[in-house]
């Protein structure tokens, strides 16, 4: 029961954090802020949100080795490609 309560609290905090970061991204878009640094900042937030989904909602934080890293590696590779494309 204690473990269930802990899990519930952690996942709820993660959910609220995800919503907050989404609102930040939306505000940046609405304010019409532009530029490479802004774009890369927005994408860095997206990658962090993806890592939260992977670790907590997908529960990969409990998996060992490459299983835990498979989504994180995908996010890192995507981040590198987007960085190169937006700074080209």
């Amino acid at each position: 029961m204690k473990i269930k309560k802990q899990s519930t609290i952690v996942e709820t905090v993660v959910f609220l954090l995800l919503i907050m970061l989404t609102l930040v991204t939306y505000q940046v878009g609405k304010m019409g802020l532009s530029g490479v640094n802004i774009s890369l900042g927005v994408f860095a937030i997206a990658l962090f949100k993806g890592a939260l989904i992977s670790e907590h909602f997908m529960q990969l934080k409990h998996a060992s080795g490459l299983w835990r890293w498979m989504i994180l590696i995908w996010l890192i590779l995507l981040g590198i490609v987007i960085y190169l494309a937006f700074t080209a």
């Binding site: 519930t8 939306y26 060992s64």
Partner: protein, 187 residues
Amino acid sequence: MTKVTRYPPGEIIIWLFIMAELLVFGLFFAAYAITRIDNIELFELYQQNLDTTAALYNTIALLSSSYFVIRSVIAIKADEQKNAYRWMLLAVVMGLVFIVIKTDEFAHHIDNGITLSTNTFYMFYLSLAFFHYLHVILGLVVLGVLARNMNKGMYSSKENSSVETGASYWHMVDLVWLILFPLVYVM
């Protein structure tokens, strides 16, 4: 929930499927970003025509749905079948909210005569958005089946591999949208 396990939750086959799906979406995102290099003005111009507020509502809908799914997984592991069923139903409802909003967005584009051949930006936007939309529909079918089975009491703390498998797929759908939203609507 805190112990380290050798394998990820659910059936291993779903993780191979998830990786294949992420590879395809990843290539799509990379192609979008690389094509944008030579079409920055076009992409930025037509990006402004997209409904960012609708995309925000859709992001909140999918995040909420994913949260309800993990609550359902936590509940079933605690043998709380009724709670698990209620959380899963809420997840389905939020998934349907996404479908309604996205369908309205597509209808709006069609009314304005926008198609895949309108320009390069819309070719990418419509392809990516519709491909993801189909995944949401498939995910909703999976969640619907899980909810029905939960209502029949088919899962428990010992027998929940199917729930974790379906949940993992749904979180992947959410994950892809979290990348698509800023990349196509904001950046």
